[in-house]
């Protein structure tokens, strides 16, 4: 799970959420438009490292400690992407694509690290307001994204609990033995979350 908001007074923390979001969207788009070549992978990762270094994160290592933690948090995504790409498209595109995806994810992570979710929510609501004319509910869309973010952590914990329970009962690793209780627990959580949202005034 990528780290969430990191309180601080660096310049990136102080940039308003709306313009910052646009900046990161542009960055991610730029990365996605790079070609699938060796140099592009380097450029994508280099840009991400530079962004962390320039973000004034004050980790005592020019943002690199935070950058490394972010990459480590998504190591399984990187691994799965790299292996799948290696199998289907070859070494050079696999390297470039994996670097681009990693860079895009850690870019998004930097946005989350330097912006309170409440501010993102407000900015997103404001940004989506023009679409209300065509029936879109900006508040709902913004809330859905926020709830998705917070749910990732909970689902991670549910998965860990289920694996621990299986180990405690001596069960071997099995996709079915994991998937069924995980699905049930996730659906139960969705029900509870719906009630909690309702109870807190979300209609």
């Amino acid at each position: 799970m990528l780290s969430l908001y990191r309180p601080g007074s660096g310049w990136l923390n102080r940039v308003p959420a709306g313009p910052k979001m646009l900046l990161f969207i542009a960055g991610a788009l730029g990365i996605s438009l790079l070609p699938s070549q060796w140099w592009a992978g380097g450029v994508a990762l280099g840009a991400a490292v530079l962004a962390y270094a320039a973000a004034d994160l004050r980790d005592g290592a020019l943002g690199l400690q935070v950058f490394a933690a972010q990459v480590w948090a998504v190591r399984w995504v990187i691994l799965v992407t790299a292996v799948a790409q290696l199998i289907f498209v070859g070494l050079e595109p696999a390297f470039a694509n994996t670097c681009r995806i990693t860079a895009a994810i850690v870019f998004a992570g930097l946005l989350m690290l330097t912006t309170r979710v409440t501010h993102l929510l407000d900015a997103l609501e404001r940004g989506l307001r023009p679409f209300a004319r065509v029936g879109l509910r900006p508040d709902r869309v913004a809330l859905m994204l926020t709830v998705t973010l917070s749910t990732v952590t909970v689902l991670g914990r549910l998965a860990r609990d289920i694996r621990d329970a299986q180990r405690a009962r001596g069960a071997r690793s099995s996709l079915r033995a994991f998937a069924v209780p995980f699905l049930v627990a996730a659906l139960k959580h969705a029900d509870d979350l719906g009630d909690a949202l309702n109870a807190r005034g979300v209609r």
Binding site: T118, S150, T153, R157, H189, D195, A196, R200, G201
Partner: protein, 229 residues
């Protein structure tokens, strides 16, 4: 009368969860006890507007929780706290989660900030304001859930087994906040019979019906008699 039920029926799927329940509750603190599946939680969810009735009449603080027109008012005046704090936490940090409870009210940000700070201080969460909500301990999460409920200044708090997952210290802390006389009424669903006796009145549910109601000591004694059969 703060809560009134007249011949209320609730069916949840095939289950007849509440059967012909009639009750009038006006005490400041009400304990709701009974075995698992007896209808306690359905009662709590009914008065909290989360479960529709299939028959009868319900009045909570002068509102009908089943009426769509009353929903917004009900959410402002009635807060719910559940047993699983994980499911009640929406936002990634403590401060943002408390502020989320006020989002629907569209208050000025300065007012929100003041109310959130006051609520955090009241529940001893000020030092945790910027911590990720889901990294808190179970007790801290339930305190946060309570803080998120109380920041709205509700007239009625409906708590469904809020101490179920907590150790003795945290359970005591949570019940202290719930029972404190800060101008709210409380409906507390609990399996803790000692705690039930600290409330002003109690209701015993059995098989979806009210089996006993009134003085908590008497209601708990009635429950003990059932348990010993």
């Amino acid at each position: 009368m703060s809560i009134r039920l007249e011949s209320v029926d609730v069916r949840v799927g095939e289950t007849h969860a509440l059967r012909d329940v009639s009750l009038e509750l006006d005490a400041r603190t009400v304990a709701v006890i009974g075995e698992n599946g007896s209808g306690k939680s359905t009662f709590a969810r009914l008065i909290g507007g989360l479960v529709p009735r299939t028959g009868g009449r319900v009045d909570v603080l002068g509102l009908d929780p089943g009426a769509r027109s009353a929903t917004a008012d009900l959410r402002k005046r009635v807060a719910l706290v559940f047993s699983n704090p994980d499911a009640q936490i929406i936002m990634p940090t403590v401060k943002e989660d408390v502020a989320f409870s006020l989002r629907a009210d569209r208050l000025p940000s300065a007012v929100v900030a003041t109310r959130v700070e006051d609520a955090l201080a009241r529940f001893g969460l000020t030092d945790l304001a910027d911590r990720p909500s889901h990294d808190l301990s179970g007790g801290q999460k339930q305190l946060l859930a309570l803080c998120g409920a109380f920041v709205r200044d509700p007239e009625l708090v409906v708590a469904d087994e809020p101490t179920a997952y907590l150790d003795a210290r945290n359970a005591r802390l949570i019940t202290g906040h719930l029972l404190a006389d800060t101008g709210h009424r409380l409906v507390l669903v609990t399996h803790d019979l000692e705690l039930a006796q600290r409330c002003e009145t109690a209701v015993l549910f059995a098989d979806g019906k009210v089996a006993s109601t009134g003085d908590p000591a008497k209601v708990v004694a009635d429950y003990e008699a059932v348990l010993s059969c």
